[in-house]
Subunit: 350 residues, 2 copies
């Protein structure tokens, strides 16, 4: 529907759905964010793509009702975003949706999104029926990575990884403009690569996964442990501690918080170097809720990357000074990836 002036990108997360409506020239016309129901409150294996999110330990199945409620919420968010653009549904040309977990993009089905309680949800069919507009679907981090290809924020790179650092940690990988999916579409599970041998127990059952030290839940766990051991500093005064609290305390120089964020940044830096060693991408772009903490997040990451570069010709050769980019906090890479997908759908039909 190339005569319709608007495109929508949708970021379906475990806690909220964010919709971005843009004009054909790429300017933002409208936005909306609505909460999504979480299935449970424990640490999760992250919205990081692939079949292995579905281990029996990873939470319950919400059944068809969870899917229906989720679809309604997405439809409502799209309608609100279109309304904030001062437009109507008939102005929408296409929608691109990024969903967490194991997504069958070709079939338009979310196979398993543990945090949302979705199992074999035919999301594309449901959205197309409700909104009367062509809809594309992808795994969230993969969609974000594809959307960053040739993008100004990635300096035009065509081989890159998008790493989402939020409640969980996952990566989408693109090489020469093509998404790298692996055998079952599960590539990029960087959050469960061991960062600290024999470290803290992860929700996945292993010990010392990257998530245990650098994901939102891992940072919160470390803060709770510091408080319990009496070394929590200013964090000890909080009723419940979020990763944002820890980064805020670190920004103010709290020693205990700085220790936690330094360990997180160092582990993330080493994992990023490892990802580049294995996948040979040009740039790594970092987004997600935890990465939005600003300098308190960026400084320890940069410090370790600089140290590794200073130590190693190999790392220096691999990772140019500007190869690792923390995306602006207000840039929703998944929603923008959805816009890019919606645009490709329009071109394909035109």
């Amino acid at each position: 529907m190339p005569d319709r002036p608007l495109l929508a990108g949708v970021d379906v997360g475990g806690t909220k759905v964010a919709v971005l409506v843009v004009r054909q020239d790429g300017s933002v016309a409208g936005r909306a964010v609505l909460p999504m129901d979480r299935r449970d409150g424990g640490p999760t294996t992250g919205g990081d793509g692939g079949p292995r999110d579905g281990g029996p330990s990873a939470g319950g199945d919400g059944g068809p009702r969870a899917g229906e409620a989720g679809v309604s919420r997405i439809v409502e968010a799209v309608r609100r975003a279109v309304a904030t653009a001062g437009a109507g549904e008939r102005d929408l040309g296409a929608i691109g949706v990024g969903a967490p977990g194991w997504v069958d993009a070709e079939a338009g089905i979310v196979r398993l999104a543990t945090n949302l309680g979705w199992h074999d949800l035919a999301l594309v069919a449901a959205l197309e029926e409700a909104l009367g507009v062509p809809c594309g679907l992808e795994n969230d981090v993969g969609l974000a990575a594809m959307g960053l290809v040739d993008h100004p924020l990635s300096h035009g790179a065509r081989s890159l990884a998008y790493v989402a650092v939020g409640t969980g940690i996952g990566a989408g990988i693109v090489v020469d403009g093509e998404r790298y999916r692996g055998r079952r579409g599960g590539a990029g599970e960087i959050g469960h690569v061991v960062a600290v041998p024999n470290g803290a127990r992860c929700a996945c059952g292993q010990r010392g996964c990257l998530e245990t030290v650098a994901a939102g839940w891992g940072i919160e766990r470390a803060a709770r442990e510091a408080v319990a051991s009496g070394s929590g500093g200013r964090l000890g005064g909080l009723a419940s501690i979020t990763a944002a609290d820890v980064y805020a305390a670190a920004r103010d120089g709290d020693a205990s918080a700085l220790e936690i964020t330094k360990a997180a940044g160092a582990a993330l830096a080493r994992a990023i170097v490892g990802l580049v060693l294995i996948c040979d991408v040009e740039r790594v772009l970092i987004g997600g809720g935890v990465a939005a903490a600003g300098d308190a997040f960026v400084d320890p990451l940069r410090a370790e990357l600089d140290r590794l570069r200073a130590d190693s010709d190999l790392v220096r050769g691999l990772l140019a000074e500007d190869a690792v980019i923390v995306l602006p906090p207000d840039f929703d890479a998944v929603a923008w990836g959805g816009v890019a997908l919606a645009r490709r759908m329009g071109s394909a039909k035109a």
Copy 2:
């Protein structure tokens, strides 16, 4: 030249060149192994593919003479292997060659093989001129991985990684029968992913790379350190210690050697799980000189893989019980990959 009855696969290593001559039905007709000159004796970044082997710290450039000597040695090895088959050069239909380091397969050029002192060596042209037969070239671990696709030893897998554990450690990755090369052909540098944060210094400049604990040179380093600290057990009696000595001592129950081989197996197991998490391959096949040590190599690797599987639904779902396969010590995966490449060249011309 499909009317010629023989194919040759060539494994060019840092210390030797091995040639395998097979009949069109795949049966072995002849073999030969000749030593190659090493450029220097220090730890290397391994014959593991990719441009980053060429850091300034990684050894000298042998210049054109090193290339000429290497080509002569390969030509001699091919002639000997053909002779052991009771045949002549005119019976050879095609040659497939695997070389370490950074290989430009399309151009037929070895861009940089640090251990051999080769820099921009036009190996395909040189071999075709000397032997008068079509020649194909690939990076060694990539060639081995491609040769294992649909192979009985990989149980017919089409998405797999070949991990060479020798002096260095590197991996070749294949997904759906297609080689995964990354942006610059450097994918699979698993040997320099950090296995032990703040561990021993690696030749690459980082600390605690997988190679520092699990590659031949890392095992030898650990053994020398154990001897120097007085805890070397039986290894203390040796004038110089090889990785094979350490595995032999471990096999005989030497406590110090067992500690070293256990740490190597555990780090390798975690790195393999990490590789599968990031690349989503179905099987991991392990070859190389260190992996030829038999049970003393396999047992600690299996023990850690079993432990990770027992701990984690995620790992169990990712890595089937038989997903990690240590190749038979007498199976030269690179040379067999060369045979497979030679066969494809024959088919392409037929």
